[in-house]
């Protein structure tokens, strides 16, 4: 199989398998979904294995004419930035699909179809090298998640999911206008109407146009993460979403926003990036502080994890907007790290709920007594979340802080407070659920083998990455430097 086919099959297989779920017998739905995500995971691993580390440019490029009249091309490719995000997507989707088949939802066909559509859309957003294709996949991601939350979620799900889609689409529709404006305004310099990221980054716009366009993109990305001020959809959506879906929402979808900054905003709008650097840094630092404090005060375990995500994404944001190679490389690592820790947390919350019928830490506790394996897995995840020295998260945050120190030292000092706060909320989450005297409603049971089969590999990835973070750092380095260099030269001017 040619290398180009790998990327194409990987992208379209999930939705094809999703459609297959409508025709196969009811009992075979879960199996086919697992097979589909398994193959995608295999292809993603093959992609990583075949990756040339030293190259900054795109690999496995696909470029076909799609809508020539509108200048839209079907362009895909991976580089060091998207490589591990693709792997993360494939990994978490496989894990969540397996996890879901053990708790087979009612109306399973549509559930797995929507999961498949979601995987295609997310992979598409990471692989797209055409601005419009990126926007298209970025928007498309919402539809399956809106369905999954609205049709399979808990209390108050319809209002919550509608709020989420309205919030996120506010950003992404403005982004659509901004993307089209970029291509139309650049068409004089490029010579023809083109949405190709390569063309557009070679001919950047005048600084006046860059500024409003950058703000439209930034709004879309910040809402998606979400960052503070535009995080209003998060509490409701996180309360209502089914936990496996939430694992994907927090683990993968939130990264697309941060990824968008690196892929689109920095290379296409370097002047505006420099202009608004401090604004975004301020938003990032505010997210760190607000997310940490809120995570510390909430009693709902979902919201503790949710607000901690806000804080973590704040770190990732400031790393990118340090506009230094170290910071941005750290952010790429941290994106994968955060996905790897937050997804298991939500899956463990699902297990906690099964054992206690509650998601409130005041009604949880003592689970470690009869479930040492579950507790051990949870402990590793917790330590990684709080960026214990020795974990890959520590290295990620360390790189990010180095970058920010070099760029804007004030923000780095404030951000360090976030590192300390992370220890508080992460340990509090672990202690209150696992230690202490179990309340009456808690039935301490060991993790079932099938659930361990999902969680253990994810935890193993965390450990492996802790031992060898260079796997990501070295592959990301060249591409990240390439993206940051354009902006940095702008900043020095």
């Amino acid at each position: 199989m040619g290398v180009r086919a790998v990327i194409q099959v990987m992208l379209w297989l999930p939705v094809a398998v999703g459609l297959l779920c409508f025709v196969v017998p009811r009992r075979a739905v879960g199996v086919s979904a697992i097979l589909g995500t398994g193959i995608v995971l295999g292809l993603a691993i093959a992609l990583v294995a075949g990756f040339h580390t030293a190259e900054a440019g795109l690999q496995h490029q696909v470029s076909e004419s799609w809508i020539p009249d509108l200048g839209v091309r079907y362009q895909l490719g991976v580089d060091g930035i998207s490589l591990f995000l693709v792997l993360l997507t494939a990994l978490l989707w496989a894990g969540v699909t397996v996890f879901s088949t053990f708790r087979m939802p009612d109306r399973r066909r549509i559930y797995f179809f929507m999961l498949g559509l979601g995987e295609t859309a997310t992979l598409g957003a990471f692989l797209a090298q055409d601005l419009l294709l990126f926007v298209l996949f970025f928007d498309l991601m919402l539809v399956p998640f809106w369905f999954l939350i609205g049709a399979f979620g808990g209390e108050n799900r319809i209002a919550a999911t509608t709020k989420m889609i309205v919030y996120t689409l506010v950003g992404s529709l403005l982004m659509l206008v901004a993307a089209i404006a970029t291509a139309v305004l650049a068409s004089d310099q490029v010579g023809h109407l083109s949405f190709s990221l390569a063309d557009l980054s070679a001919h950047t716009l005048s600084s006046g146009s860059q500024e409003w366009i950058f703000l439209f993109f930034a709004a879309a990305f910040l809402i998606k993460m979400p960052a503070v001020v535009v995080h209003g959809w998060l509490p409701d959506a996180y309360r209502a979403a089914p936990l496996p879906v939430l694992a994907l929402l927090a683990g993968v979808l939130s990264k697309v926003g941060a990824y968008g900054f690196l892929r689109v905003a920095l290379p296409l709008y370097p002047e505006a990036t420099v202009t608004y650097q401090e604004l975004i840094l301020a938003v990032g630092v505010a997210s760190i502080l607000y997310g940490s404090v809120m995570a510390f005060t909430q009693t709902n375990v979902r919201l503790i994890a949710g607000y901690s995500s806000i804080a973590q994404l704040g770190f990732i944001t400031i790393g990118i907007f340090s506009l230094r190679p170290d910071g941005a490389d750290g952010s790429v690592l941290q994106m994968v790290n955060h996905g790897l820790v937050v997804a298991p947390i939500f899956l463990i919350i699902a297990l906690l709920w099964e054992r206690s019928g509650s998601e409130d830490i005041t009604r949880l506790g003592g689970l470690a007594m009869r479930a040492p394996v579950l507790a051990a897995l949870f402990l590793i995840v917790t330590l990684a979340t709080l960026a214990m020295p020795g974990s890959a998260n520590f290295i990620g945050e360390f790189y990010i802080l180095i970058g920010v120190f070099q760029a804007k030292i004030v923000y780095a000092f404030v951000a360090i407070a976030g590192v300390a706060l992370a220890a508080f909320y992460a340990i509090r989450l672990f202690q209150r659920t696992m230690h202490g005297r179990p309340p009456e409603n808690v039935d301490s049971r060991e993790i079932a083998l099938r659930d361990a089969a999902v969680l253990a590999p994810l935890v193993a990835c965390i450990v492996a990455l802790a031992l060898y973070p260079g796997l990501i750092l070295s592959r990301g380095e060249a591409a990240v430097e390439d993206k940051v260099a354009a902006v940095a030269s702008e900043g020095d001017r």
């Binding site: 799609w66 809508i67 020539p68 009249d69 509108l70 109306r107 549509i110 419009l132 298209l136 996949f137 928007d139 498309l140 919402l142 539809v143 809106w146 369905f147 609205g150 049709a151 799900r157 319809i158 999911t161 509608t162 889609i165 309205v166 689409l169 506010v170 529709l173 403005l174 659509l176 206008v177 089209i180 404006a181 291509a183 139309v184 305004l185 109407l193």
Partner: protein, 522 residues
Amino acid sequence: MSFTAPEVDYAGLSPVITLTAGICAVLLAGLVGERRQRLLVSTLSLATLATAAGLCIWQWGEREDLVAGALRLDELGLAGALIAILAAAVVIPLSWREPAAERPGSEPRHGEFQALLLSSVLGMVLLAQAQNLVSFFVAIELLSVPLYVLCGSALLRRESLEAGLKYLIVGSLGSATLLYGLAFIYGGSGSTDFSGIREGIAAGLADDPLVLIGVALAATGLAFKISIAPFHQWTPDVYQGAPTPVTAFMAVATKVAAFCVFVRFFEVALGPAVDNWQPALAVLAVVSIVVGNIGALGQDSLKRLLGYSGIAQAGYMLVGLVAASELGVNALIFYLATYALMNLAAFCVIVVRERETELGDDIGAVQGLGRDRPELAWPLTISMLGLAGLPATAGFMGKLYLIEAAVDADYTWLAVAIAIGTMISLAYYLRVVAAVWMRPAVEPLGPEPAAEMPAMAGGSPQADPQGIPRGDGPSPPPGTRCLAILVPAGGLAAATIFFGIIPSPLVDWASNAGQALAAFIP
């Protein structure tokens, strides 16, 4: 004084001739007995439409003046004609069981119903091709008058009669305004021909007050027909009151034909005065987007909801006209085609649910469809997602095209208005999808009390409600009777997805329309 008869190009006129012949045949076929009427009439109508569509495709690519310049044969007109014919072809099976055409206990009236429908289509075909003030006005009346009758054709329903009357009054007002405007333009420019008017304006009449008043009145008259805010007040009421198949036809086909003539009249005849009308239409577009989207928010009636959504969509489409460029015309035609696909699919589902439940067109009628009737749930879902402009549907491509045209014409703020309008619209489109997939089905209510006898129908034996079962009687077992509707609904939804993923064929098709006007557009 010598008189030379104009040379008649029968090939170019063939769609018009076919439709005219079809109308006569259908009207006569309506005289046959009850039992075979529906089959015979519908076959004739569909054959007429198919032939007309085939002839339109045969003439595709021809560009010439017909009937001494009264009509213009080009891709813009043919594109409009094809979409209108498609809409009519979908509406015919929709109307089979409609009380307006076939009421238990009285003679079926398929002949009348479908002949009126075809007359309206004929008006649309002529309107899309009109390039003379006289043919323009005659065509728009030919389009409207049958629709007034069709709106009021459900004689037993008070709302239908009200809709017919309301549409008649408001529509006549719109026609009168339009006619007044056309008279001013003729008075100012001294020509009824679009190209003559164009020459007059180019020669320095652009700021002539007579012409400007004419332009304003003509735009107002057309805005009534297309239901662009603030001339939209009739739309929700008429859409809700009219028999649903008629609503479907009005919502799609009228808009298409009127937009075609809107484009031809403004880009060709008034092209040189573009600086005068462009800002005004831009404001109308924004008002329409805002009013339509906000109006739709609280609607529980799906037909009203689609009525308001149609106002907003008309606002989006007007952006294509405001752009006053080839790209803008292409975008408009593309959007009209996708709009037709999506809207018709939605109306198919509403018609089926109206007959199966007692809830009529209330949003409750589609609750729980996802679980019980996926074959209906999917078309409605795709249609709503498409109208909302979500990716992987043709609606996304349409918005993309329009926004590109707007930005290209330096109307970026209009592009932002489209984006903001779309955000608001999500709230109501997704509400429908949420009802379909995320809410349980509504328990059927007891039979509603029989409707009062409407005063307007008074006395005639057909209007006697006693002993006539409401609607279609007990609901048929799912899927048995409505195959004729399910097939088009599924096909339209599939086309919506297809053109969302592979838009190039439709883009190429639409771009012919812009090329046809390329000589007139900068």
